[in-house]
Amino acid sequence: MRVTRGMMRRRLVVLLMALFAAILALVGRLFFVQVLQSGWLAGLAKSSWDRTVPLAGIRGSILDSAGQPLTYTATAPTIVAVPSQIKDKPGTARKLAPILNMSEASVLRQISQRELMVYIRPGGRQMSEAKANQIRALGLPGIYLTEDGKRAYPYGDLAAQVLGITGYENVGLTGLEKQYNSVLTGQKGGITFYAKANGELIPGEGQSVVEPTDGDDIKTTINLQVQQYVEREIEQAVAEYNPDSVTAIVENPQTGAIVAMANYPTFNPADWRNAPPSTYNRNLAIWQTFEPGSTFKIVTLSAALQENKVNLQDSFYDPGYYEVAGHRIRCWKAGGHGSESFLQVVENSCNPGFIALGERLGKESLFSYIRNFGFGQKTGIDLPGEGNGILFKLNRVGPLELATTAFGQGVSVTPIQQVMAVGAVANGGKLMKPYVVSEILNHDTGQVVEETKPTVVRQVISSATAAQVRSALESVVANGSGGKAYRDGYRIAGKTGTAQVAKNGHYESGHYIVSFIGMAPANQPKLVAYIAIDNPHPKHGVVFGGVIAAPIVGNILDDALHEMGVQPSPEGLPKKYRYPEVPPVTVPNFQGLTLKQAQNFALQNSANLKVDIQGQGQVVVAQSPAGGSKVEPGSVIRLYLGDGKPSGN
């Protein structure tokens, strides 16, 4: 069968239609790509043409409560070179090298790198304005000037853990630098230009410069002077007692503002890379948890007074122990305090007395106060890395746990939790939320962008109860174990604490955390101050616990209140002339103890006594005055060392 012309024509018409259909399909495809996908594709294309040389905004400063910078970013002109835009590389290197005090070869090598942008090191970073102007005047293509900044710390390691550190590209890594990183960080600007695929500038397209915005400043509640006093006191304590670590906090109890916060060991934030990570990664004041010891008795006392479970005039008999569920829990004082009022229980920090208060409250009530005082949960301070602390679970609390908790053992708390709890006693019963940053300010105008308002978390005890607790604590300082914190006219109220440190379920022998928490003036406290000294190693032999921490808080409060212009008041408890007479302190018996045993024994004892060591040897062979005799607080006890046999303890 021959193919006819007619059939050929029909097939040609079909072919024509098919080709038209194919062309139409391409039109459809073009419509899809150029209309429906246009926005998406054009965006992708644009970002592939854009080259942006970033310009960083200046990081905001961190200011103290008076507006003095604790850290700020010092900036200086810095060259950013865009190699693909530099046509004449040798010529550019020749012109730049003398200004930058660099060799031509080094400049040339750096601007010849296949990078979008390079810094010319070292001469091209952080130059003088004069040099920058010289370079600007050259008008070299592909050479840009920007500001490059470095954190400066005018006070060295002051408040290092509070301020925190910044790392690569000035990003905050710890402390306020981390917490407020987004506030402090400026908005990046940049020089944007359209580039060919090889990075060269597309001629005639020009470039757009977006100026960077500086970050905001943050104004803290840290008082530079008080912070310096605190750090000075810590330094002296370290020199004196060579402890593992020291933590101190000063708070304004009326607002919850942190006035000072310091730790030892510390570091220089400008050089943090050479410091041990434990110094810059942890802020002990909010991170460390330990058994508070006697300072925790303030919580038990507050609860018992609020619940009307005790009258401070009631009397109590301490035989030296308290029997709980068949166990005898001993008082820190061998032989006990005998007959005493509950005020004296507080003054003497008598453990059996507090166990009794705990029993009167019952576990539900005591633990509910503990939680309401903020223990067992984060305080919500605006610093990163806060600890929770640990409380017994209520269903696990038996009589023994209730008893130890009542005098501050078996619970684990952070320093900031203690400060905030005592702050509640100081301000009339309100638990405040602590804060470090009071205002966010515009870096350039100083205008307030944001302000922190004090936050009341809850009312824990009544104002009247708080006043009662404060007056008991004032009496602790005036008459009791906190005597070393007494400062005439400043009405300091407070409590010592000596806690053993538990490790792997056992108390570590000879490892104590000696602390004191105080407030002043007792009638309307302006400040709460806290110090904890972990594992003091007294250089001069034997030191009583009551002698270590209390005077430090006394010094801090004295200097700080003076600095704040608080006038001394004559209304406080006079130290020596109050009725009843200052109770004499019973001298402990050191005879037969080794020097090490004597040290531990004294640390646990918050009595305000000084020790003078005479002679050479390992064992205390004699002491004066003798053990059991009564002396005035502040008296000196002489211990005579010799080569006798330790009688053990």
Binding site: M8, L30, V33, Q34, S38, A42
Partner: protein, 372 residues
């Protein structure tokens, strides 16, 4: 004598629509070659006019060829068809031996500074010879062995030689053109169907032998997976088209030509057209080609004899297949196959050979008459 538009007496000018469309496409092409290539040629040769100058010269030579060929009675080619076929195959073999490697493909015969592509020449030579062969075998087209196999076998040999260069684009164009001519010549649909089946099997075999061929397909299906590899060109092409939108960035305002799109003056010139002139520009170009295809097929229909019809279909089909493949690739509609856009892309051999083909087509149109 003048009652019908098409008369039996030969016309002097041929189909003026074809001439018009070709001249418009050529001028537009030179403009776009200049716009697309200026950055590349300035970067590579320090002369932004490097490609456009050459394209202008080739276009003039090509147009001269076109008018010269339009004056040669197309029946002459039938006489020389066997010689043309032999010459085509000889060149395809020769290029494999002494060819110059450009861009990974041994597709060029260098004569001094001039390079010609034997595959371009062979394409036209094969079209002429196939038209001759198919016209001869009109009475045995229904036969598989005597009607279908000889032309298809010949085409496959040519494709095989070209694949040795290798040049996938030209091979696909030759296969496409051959299928169109066989279809027009009245081959059985079942034979074409069988060819399709064998083709799929062959492709499967090729992929099985060398799995890298699958990459090309994978890059076509999802070019974004290989943004710097096989998908790069397609992505850059889509960037260009997408940036162009409906109206385009304006003539000369392409950004993708700034070395993002490789060889923007050849295979991917349509991307630059789409970027600078938008969807409307692209549709205009497609419309021009549609007119050309219509006039070409019309010429074939009205050709005085079967050889004329088949030659007309072959030349028109060859142009159409190239346009469809080129724009299909550029728009990401089909897997990447390197082929130029007729009359627009830069390239001397391609332009002169295509214009010569159009010259032949014009001569057929001159002799076209009323339905006989």
């Amino acid at each position: 004598m003048f009652q019908t538009r098409a008369t039996s007496t030969p016309r002097q000018a041929g189909d003026l629509a074809i001439v018009g469309v070709i001249l418009v496409l050529l001028s537009f092409g030179i403009t776009m070659v200049h716009s697309a290539s200026s950055v590349v040629s300035a970067t590579r040769f320090g002369d932004p006019f490097y490609f456009s100058k050459r394209q202008l010269i080739w276009a003039i030579i090509g147009v001269l060829c076109m008018f010269w060929f339009s004056r040669i009675d197309y029946h002459v080619w039938r006489k020389h068809a066997p010689k043309l076929a032999v010459a085509s195959f000889a060149m395809l073999v020769l290029v494999l031996i002494v060819g110059v490697n450009r861009g990974g493909s041994k597709a060029w015969l260098g004569i001094g500074s001039l390079g010609i592509q034997p595959s371009e020449f062979a394409k036209l030579g094969l079209v002429v010879f196939l038209a001759h062969l198919l016209a001869e075998s009109a009475d045995r087209m229904h036969s598989f062995w005597r009607g279908f196999v000889p032309p298809m076998g010949l085409a496959l040999v040519a494709v095989g030689l070209i694949m040795l260069e290798p040049d996938l684009g030209q091979s696909v164009v030759i296969m496409g053109t051959t299928v169109i001519m066989l279809f027009a010549a009245g081959t059985r649909m079942s034979h074409l169907g069988a060819l399709f089946g064998v083709g799929m099997l062959g492709f499967g075999g090729l992929v099985a032998v060398a799995p890298y061929r699958m990459d090309r397909i994978a890059a076509f299906i999802d070019p974004w997976k290989y943004p710097l590899g096989k998908g790069y060109q397609i992505i850059q092409s889509l960037y260009a088209l997408g940036s162009g939108g409906i109206l385009g960035l304006g003539l000369g305002n392409s950004r993708q030509k700034f070395l993002y799109l490789p060889e923007p003056q050849t295979d991917f010139i349509f991307s630059i057209i789409g970027e600078e002139l938008g969807l409307l520009g692209g549709i205009c170009v497609l419309l021009l080609f549609a007119v050309l295809v219509w006039r070409g097929i019309r010429t074939a229909i009205y050709a005085p004899d079967e050889f004329g019809t088949l030659l007309g279909v072959g030349i028109t089909g060859m142009i159409a297949v190239q346009v469809l493949i080129n724009i299909g690739v550029v728009t990401g509609s089909i897997p990447a196959t390197g082929i130029t856009l007729p009359f627009i892309s830069y390239g001397g051999s391609s332009l002169t050979l295509l214009l010569s083909g159009v010259g032949i087509l014009l001569n057929i149109s001159k002799q076209a008459g009323v339905v006989r």
